[in-house]
């Protein structure tokens, strides 16, 4: 008989589902079955069971081969590299827990690093907009129980956040939403006919890169002002109709994703979408929420927010916090040759950054902390495998609506493996010695 671990939190996407059940072998070492998770969530748990998993740090040799080294040696290389650098980049932080993020920031403070997380290529533009114009938001629970107008703008939860629509936004019946999907009007704005768009009541097939114009047109329509015949490929009649649908709801929410945060206009799209939300609050109750990707990218913004006041692109090189996306963001720093060492944890810039940036990582002293083998581990000089957070160790993570949730440990990591936190604690101690801090 297998044991069943209940109320497990899924450490994959920003939906951070907390209702998983995992079947574990009697001796508590193997994961046999994952219940309630979507396919990508289940895969994350099962992946930790891979037979060919790397369980010890590896150092790249002159000839390109890898040599297994001890954790002690890995700590030494990491600490000396960071301590010797004049402007190290410490990037990632989105697939690890807040405890590791906090101690990692301590290292960043001691060595004068630039700390950046995956928001830099994702929702960083959202954070810029929020700082510029504020944000009216709510929790996913409120949406489940109250929302009758749902807008998905430039995001595709059917594939990127598979349980989002069934758990919170479209299908569930809540306290004031007894009719479930029937009582909700769903609008999708996307240039592509995605699987999310196919389930919508209204799909606005906006012209690529014209979201800012369409958002502006909605604000003009709320005020009943004149509009050109079409805006962003959408007839003005439809825009006035959608404006009325939005105004007539009891409780509305705009969810948005990388289709608007990383396309033309970037932060301005979100800035304007927030202003749309603000305008709608003249008529009824509306909110806006980013569909955060990595399960704890939100947490890294929270941790840096409370430690240094800025949620990403945090430059600590001069001993105080500075922040200016465009200058202190990872890709700008890499392509402009502004950093002299790279430390990556809990993310995969090798897969997500432009080639010109990845080449720079290849050229620099570089360290990658990651349980998986990834394109990033391939370009870095040192790969430190660690236990899976949320599977083999617990810790705090923040859901996309800024709700902190404590992850659960389900099984032990392979014998002798360290967690992110344990490894970083040892690096911190060594950096402190080196810096005399």
């Amino acid at each position: 008989m297998a044991k069943l671990v209940t109320d497990v939190v899924c450490p994959f996407c920003g939906t951070l589902c907390d209702d998983l059940e995992v079947g574990v072998s009697d001796d508590g070492t193997k994961i046999l079955e994952v219940y309630n998770a979507c396919a990508i969530g289940a895969e994350k748990f099962l992946h930790s069971q891979a037979k060919d998993r790397v369980t010890r740090p590896r150092m790249k040799q002159e000839d390109g081969s890898w040599k297994e080294i001890s954790y002690d040696e890995a700590v030494e290389y990491t600490a000396t590299t960071l301590a010797a650098a004049r402007k190290p980049l410490m990037y990632g932080w989105s697939s690890t827990n807040c405890e590791a993020q906090a101690i990692g920031t301590e290292i960043g403070e001691m060595v004068g690093a630039v700390m950046d997380n995956t928001a830099t290529v994702c929702h960083g533009t959202t954070l810029i907009a929020v700082q510029d114009v504020g944000v009216p938001s709510c929790t996913l629970g409120e949406i489940l129980n109250r929302a009758d107008r749902i807008v998905f703008w430039g995001c595709n939860p059917a594939h990127a956040h598979p349980r989002h629509m069934s758990r919170y936004s479209i299908f569930p019946r809540g306290f004031f939403t007894g009719k479930g999907a029937k009582g909700r009007k769903m609008v999708v704005v996307d240039p592509r006919v995605t699987d999310t768009a196919k389930t919508a009541d209204i799909h606005l097939q906006v012209e690529q890169g014209r979201d800012y114009e369409l958002l502006t047109a909605l604000r003009v329509a709320f005020k009943g002002e004149w509009l050109p015949d079409t805006v962003a490929g959408i007839p003005k009649k439809t825009i006035y109709e959608v404006a009325d649908i939005m105004k007539s709801g009891r409780f509305g929410i705009i969810f948005f994703g990388m289709g608007v945060t990383q396309s033309l206009s970037k932060n301005h799209n979100i800035d304007q979408a927030i202003c749309v939300t603000r305008d709608l609050n003249e008529y009824t109750k509306w909110n806006i929420m980013p569909m955060r990707g990595h399960y704890n990218v939100t947490g890294s913004g929270e941790v840096w927010g409370w430690l240094h006041g800025f949620p990403f692109a945090l430059d600590l090189s001069r001993g105080f916090a500075r922040y200016n996306p465009g200058d202190t963001t990872s890709n700008d720093l890499l392509v402009r040759d502004e950093v002299d060492a790279v430390f990556v944890i809990g993310s995969d810039p090798g897969a997500h950054f432009p080639n010109s940036s990845v080449k720079k990582i290849w050229d620099l002293p570089s360290i990658c902390i990651d349980p998986h083998l990834t394109p990033t581990t391939a370009v870095c000089k040192l790969h430190v495998p660690v236990a899976f957070v949320g599977v083999e160790t617990g810790g705090c993570a923040y859901r996309m609506d800024n709700v902190p949730i404590e992850c659960r440990k389900v099984v032990d990591p392979p014998e002798g493996m360290l967690t992110d936190l344990e490894f970083l604690e040892r690096v911190t101690a060594r950096v402190r010695e080196l810096k005399g801090a």
């Binding site: 090189s317 465009g326 200058d327």
Partner: protein, 266 residues
């Protein structure tokens, strides 16, 4: 006017942060003292003299001090940041933040400037003889006050996001500009003598934008209210006048609603 000449002698491997390169910091100092001022490369501090050969000396005050950078400083940030008087001449390209938060004096860059030039400036004059980067005369992140006074002239093209949150002063670009001109603008004048791409005047509250060439895609929040004959920076002509952004809030003064004005040259 006393002149201090800085000759670049070493290209910084990382970028240099040199907020001390301004008449205010050089005034009243001899060459050796100026060479002793600090600059930063990442977390490390160096004397200015490690990267520049310093000749001449500062005047009694900033206003009597001229700084000449005799070479390329495309890897040096913050030149003329927060300067209040005097002048700076860069005989090559300069990196980010040229004249950011500048209050007075003149900066001339013979080459190009990177992003954030004239950010949040309140007075003085910046002349860029080459091209300017993004965020020219814009606001610092999170600030609702972009450029508030002074003049920025660019002989070539400028990048995106020029004059974001601008509240006063004048930006004149002889060439073309990229997307987002005067976003959230709430005062001041932007003149683009070439073409603009799109997102011109989005979320504009008040102020003026003139475009001599074409705008590829107009913002939907602007309404044509008539034509006017005006002289703009020495060029007179007939302009179509639009008011907007109609989706944005607008103040009322003397019983009248104030809009942003966008002028397109015929």
């Amino acid at each position: 006017m006393a002149t201090v000449t800085l000759k670049p002698i070493k290209v910084p491997d990382l970028r240099l942060e040199a907020d001390n390169i301004k008449p205010d910091a050089f005034a009243g100092k001899k060459a050796a003292e100026i060479a002793d001022l600090h600059v930063y490369c990442g977390n490390s501090q160096y004397p200015l003299g490690e990267f520049f050969e310093v000749a001449g000396e500062g005047g009694a005050t900033a206003a009597e001090t001229e700084v000449v950078i005799d070479g390329d400083v495309s890897r040096v940030k913050y030149i003329g940041m927060k300067m209040t008087a005097g002048s700076v001449l860069v005989k090559g390209n300069a990196d980010m933040y040229v004249g950011a938060w500048m209050e007075g004096g003149t900066i001339t860059v013979n080459g190009d400037t990177d992003a954030f030039a004239g950010m949040g400036m309140t007075g003085g004059e910046i002349n860029v003889l080459g091209n300017a980067g993004n965020y020219l005369g814009a606001a610092y992140r999170g600030d609702w006050r972009g450029m508030q006074g002074g003049v920025i002239r660019v002989a070539g093209d400028a990048g995106s996001d020029i004059g974001t949150f601008m509240r006063g002063g004048e930006i004149i670009v002889n060439g073309n500009v990229d997307v987002h001109v005067g976003t959230h603008q709430e005062g001041g004048t932007i003149i683009v003598k070439g073409d603009a791409k799109s997102k011109v005047g989005g979320q504009m509250v008040e102020g003026e934008i003139y475009v001599f060439g074409d705008i590829e895609v107009m913002m939907p929040g602007f309404q044509h209210i008539g034509d006017v004959d005006v002289a703009v920076d020495g060029v007179s002509g007939r302009f179509a006048c639009y008011k907007g952004d109609m989706g944005e809030r607008h103040p009322r003064r003397k019983g009248e609603t104030i809009y942003g004005k966008l002028y397109l040259k015929y």
